[in-house]
């Protein structure tokens, strides 16, 4: 196995009094795809923010531990330096530049790129191939795109930078099944071209299929980690993240309903 591209040791982070990450260690070997799973609030997005050093935008901070990329510590850098070091993130919740056109959003994606004009043109062509709708709507303002189209734009924008390591925070959020598959293929493809990927995904099935290694976070701590196929076989992961349940769907639903409180009708006036 090649050397570790991203090396996280004992990372802790929090938002004021809230401790969102505790002593998280994670290794991402060069040229690999690593998935991070976890339920709501587990700290996945916090982890990515800590790597990209944007926690301060949310009133949070790293309180301990180190992050190194290619042997270089990222701790203490500004977010743009992290980008310059070759890391690029697709943040959670799309975050397209709503008032800028689609084309300008893609140009913004290329701001941190190191490649020359030709490389950028090639990147743009690839993004357009991947998401034809972005070519069609080049002149439309990004904020007017549909949710899924915005997600495509967010991913496409990150691809424009041509990073060494791509951090993806729920790239398939709100994408139709067909499109989610296409994203998965893209991840495989860019990985094949040498880009390492750190993938945070709710769609654990896809994530575990793409990744070589996976980590499971719970309340800020790594509770499980290992090769993706092993994790995919574990009961805990199957139940909580893959949604594989033994009963058939109907029984499952009725069981869930029974387990849940019911809401009385509001009588007030």
């Amino acid at each position: 196995m090649a050397g570790a591209a991203l090396e996280i040791r004992d990372l802790s982070a929090g938002y004021g009094p809230v401790r969102a990450l505790r002593h998280v260690s994670l290794t991402l070997p060069e040229g690999s795809v690593v998935a991070v799973l976890g339920s709501n609030g587990a700290g996945k997005s916090t982890l990515l923010r800590a790597i990209s050093r944007t926690l301060s935008f949310h009133g949070g901070a790293v309180t301990g531990g180190t992050v190194a990329f290619d042997g270089r510590p990222l701790t203490g850098l500004t977010p743009d330096r992290v980008v310059a070091a070759g890391l690029c993130q697709v943040p959670e919740g799309r975050q397209v530049f709503a008032r800028m056109t689609v084309a300008d959003n893609l140009r913004a994606g290329a701001l941190g790129a190191t490649g020359n004009r030709a490389a950028q043109a090639a990147a743009l062509r690839r993004v357009h191939e991947l998401f034809p709708v972005l070519a069609e709507r080049a002149g439309q303002r990004a904020g007017l795109l549909s949710g899924g189209e915005q997600q495509m734009l967010a991913v496409g924008r990150a691809l424009m930078a041509g990073p060494k390591l791509l951090l993806l925070d729920e790239p398939s959020l709100g994408l139709a099944p067909l499109m989610a598959q296409r994203i998965a293929e893209t991840v495989t493809e860019i990985n094949a071209q040498g880009t390492a990927v750190l993938l945070v995904e709710q769609n654990a099935a896809i994530a575990l299929r793409l990744a070589s290694h996976a980590y499971v976070l719970d309340v800020g701590e790594v509770v499980l980690s290992g090769p993706a196929d092993e994790l995919a076989a574990s009961d805990e992961v199957r139940r909580r993240y893959l949604g594989v349940v033994d009963e058939d769907a109907a029984a499952d639903a009725s069981e869930a309903v029974a387990a849940h409180r019911t809401l009385s009708v509001w009588e007030g006036k």
Partner: protein
Amino acid sequence: MSDPIKRLRRPALWTAGAVLLLALPFYLDRFWLQAGLFAMAAAIGAIGLNLLTGSTGQLSMGHAFFLAVGAYGYCVLAGDSTGTLTGLNLPSWLAAVLAVALAGVAGGLFSPIAGRLQGAYLGIATLALIFIGQHVLFNAHDLTGGFNGRDVPPLSLFGVTFDESELLVAAVPFGSAEKLWYVALLALAGCALFARGVLRGRPGRAMNAIRDHRIAAGVLGVPVARYRAGVFVLSSMYAGLAGVLLALVFQRTVPEYFGMILSLEYLAMIVIGGLGSVAGAVVGAVFVSLLPQLLTRYSDALPLVSAPGTGGVAPGEASRYLYGAAVVAVVLFLPGGLVRPAFRRRKTTTSEESP
């Protein structure tokens, strides 16, 4: 600290504060009372502006206009018709009430324009109000008295006239400033409580929703246009009341006062005190209106300040430096305003850098 003490501390503080405020006219000289009155009037206006700008997110740089409507409205309604000036000679308390209503009407008339605009565009559009206001104040001589303004008829309420005629209370001569002090205090308390009620209740939530997400607010059943207009009217009425009070303190209204600087000062008040909070508006108003007064008054005692003509920094300049610096410093170092110093503890980069 045991719980009952903790619980009693707030009311005790409030009572002490109230007693102090009530006692001040017996001790302070007229200069300080006047300064306090300016601050109280400003606080009322600032609360109103904070309802609009802080809580509903509608930037207004035209608040001085509504202050002017209140001030001049009162003068015209309560004043006599003399020579070139028109006046309706209404009972002064009624005039004050109507002047506030008039300011509300003015706000209502502008609200269709305000309803269409957002952010900086709204802000600068309201700036137009200032220019319109100044134009009218300078030109409508028979109503406003033009450049030199017009006299403000004293308020009389329950048989007490709030003018210079001296009234002995506990051997202390009560002139207009002393008497008005209590009116202003009452008005301020009323306005603050009212605004607090509005902000904490259903209207306040709707206002915040409009500020944070206009479309979602509509979908949740908030009639956005109506609410925006309503807040604009309410805020103008606050400004109108502030204008009436200011007029009573000044005893003369002059157009020069109701210019852009005044509007910007009100904005500075709410930002310094804390956007969206009543206490913030009050604190900010006190800060902004007392600071220059203090600085000018004690300029002689300030270091580095020298008499005019000797080449050093003149007192007036020194006070402007300090004022400007105070505005910058408060906003930078207390981002939530003076009343919320610990609102969001800022993480310094140093802690991030430590391994």
